[in-house]
Symmetry: none
Subunit: 332 residues, 2 copies
Amino acid sequence: MADSGKRKIEVAVGDNETEGHEETLKCRKVISNEPGESNGSASEFLLSGFETKAVLRDSAREKNIFIHGKMADKETVVILEKTPIREESLSELFKNSRLKLEIKNDIYSTYQLQPPPHLNEIKATVVCPATEKHVKKYLRQETFLLEETGEDYRSITLPFIQSQSFSVQWVYNILEKKAEADRIIYEDPDPKVGFVLLPDFKWDQKQLDDLYLIAIIHRRDIKSLRDLTSEHIPLLCNIRKGGEDAIQKRYDVPANKLRVYLHYQPSYYHLHVHFTSLSYDAPGCGVEKAHLLSDVIQNLQADPQYYHSRSLCFPLRAEDSLHGKFKAAGRL
Amino acid sequence: MADSGKRKIEVAVGDNETEGHEETLKCRKVISNEPGESNGSASEFLLSGFETKAVLRDSAREKNIFIHGKMADKETVVILEKTPIREESLSELFKNSRLKLEIKNDIYSTYQLQPPPHLNEIKATVVCPATEKHVKKYLRQETFLLEETGEDYRSITLPFIQSQSFSVQWVYNILEKKAEADRIIYEDPDPKVGFVLLPDFKWDQKQLDDLYLIAIIHRRDIKSLRDLTSEHIPLLCNIRKGGEDAIQKRYDVPANKLRVYLHYQPSYYHLHVHFTSLSYDAPGCGVEKAHLLSDVIQNLQADPQYYHSRSLCFPLRAEDSLHGKFKAAGRL
C-alpha cells in the first residue's frame, strides 16, 4: 500500500510481474521529481560483488527474476528481465549470432542462439539499500479471491482506507504539473469531468504492442469504483471518448484495439482508468480485478447506485493488511 | 467454430501465443519420435543468410517473435524466444556482465545489462522449408473489440449462430457418457439444474498451478450468456456450489483460490462454465471475454433480462466469419 508521499502504481494482485514493476516505476517516479544521473554512463561490472540470498519470485513466461541479496554489505534487491525482441534488430541478430544446434529432424530444427551482448540486453533494476518492505513486496504471496459486499466495503474496507491515510501527493503533483508534465499526452482541464492522460511506467513506448496509458481524473473526491454513481457518467464518458481520441491521434491506435478498464481494488485511491492494447495481456486485465469502462457506464445508467450495493470480487494477498481486516471481521 | 463431431477446445481469442505454441509443440512431438542430429554440433552463423519477409507475431510480454522469411531460397519460419533467467546462472551473470546505467536516483537505479552470450541464449526454432500452412498458422490475426448491443445480437449474431449449424454433438457425447466418461470428476444429473464437471484439455493435471475444469450443463436450450434470465439462477448457483465443492473435495483447492467464469462469445454454443486457478493467468480470463459467474448471478438477480438488453463487448478476429457479418451490417 502507498507510503506517504511515494508514488503508488497500479498493481495486479496475483500477477507476478506487476509488483516488481511497481518498484521500478516508483523508482522512475522519484527520478522525475529530482535530478539524478542521466543516461549514458558506464558502470561496468557494478554487480560483480552482488551476493544472492534468495530468489523472491520469477516467471518463466515473462523471463524475469527478482533477487534479494547483498552488495557492498548493503541489503539489495535486483530485478532482471529479458527485453522484447525487436524487428529492427533481426537483421544484425541473424548475421552476427552463433547458433548451436540442438535437434534437427526433417524440416524442423532447434538451436540456441548466442547474439552479441549489445543486441540482447537484460533490463536490470537495482534497489540499494533495500528495506524489509521492498523484500516483502516482491516476495510472491498466496492470493485469495474475496467477495466484498456493499456492507463489507462500508464497515471494513472504507475505514481501512481512511485509517491508512494513503498519500496520493504524487498524483496531485502530476495534476498540478509539478511532476511528469512532459509525459502528459492529453489533458482536459475541466474540474468536474477533466483528466490527464499519460503513458504508464510499465510501457517503455518503444513499441505499440504493450501500449499502456493511464487517465487520472482532476477531481479529488472519487477514490474508486465504489464511489461512482450515475452523477459521474459524464466524467466517465469524457474519459472514454477523450482518451480514445487522444490515443488514436497520437499513436494511430483505434478504440476497437484498446482495452479500457478500472481496477478494483485499485492500488491507489484516486480514480484512474487504464488504456491498454487489446493484443497485450496486460498485468491486471483479468476479470477478477478489471472492470471495463463501457460496462461501468452501462451499469450506472441502469442503476445509479450499482457500485454502492453490489458485491465485488477482487484478489487479495495473504500479507495484505486488508486481508487481515477481513479475517479479523470473520469474513475469511 | 466447431466442426461436426470434433471436440471444440476453448480458445482464447486474442491470446497471442496459444496458436503459435501449438505448432511449436507439434514440431517437438515429431522430433521426439524419430532420431535426428543431437546436441552439440555448432552451426555457426547458419541464419546469416536469412532474409526477413514479415513478422508473423510477437509478444513483448513473453519476449518472443515469429518471423517468415527466406533462407537459401526456401520459405522459412524462424521462432525466436528469450530464455528464462535461471538462478544457477546468476553468480556468473553478475560477475561477467557489463552494466550500462540508464537512470539513478537515490536508492534506485536502472541499467541495461550485457551478459556474455553463453549466459543469455535465445531459443531458435527453424522450419525450413515452411509451407503456407505454417505461415498462416503462426500469423497473428488482428483482433478487434466489438461492442454488441442486444439488437446486434438478435439481428446479426443469433442468425449467424443458427445458420452455421454448429454441431455440439461432442458435448452431447460427454453428457450421455459416450465419450470421456472416465474424465468426469463430478455430476449432478438433474435435467434442469444439473451439469458434469471435468478437466479441460488445456490442463494436464500434473500440477494444481494451472488447474482448469469445465462444467457443462445437462439442459440443451441455453447457448450462451445471452440466453440467461433470472429463471436460470438456480442452475447457475448449483454449478457454482457443486463445482466449488467438488474441486475442494477432489483437489483440495478452496473456492477462494478459484476463478469461475463464462466466456462471451463462447467457442461452442452450449452453456459451460470455466473453473481455473486464481494464480494461473489462464487464456481467456481477460475482462474483455470473461464474466465471473458470481457477477452473472448478481446481475440476473437485479434484472431478469440483464443479458437480453445490455451491450456486451468481446474480441473478434479479422478472419472470423462473425466479423464479416458485423462488417457487412455496417457495425464495423
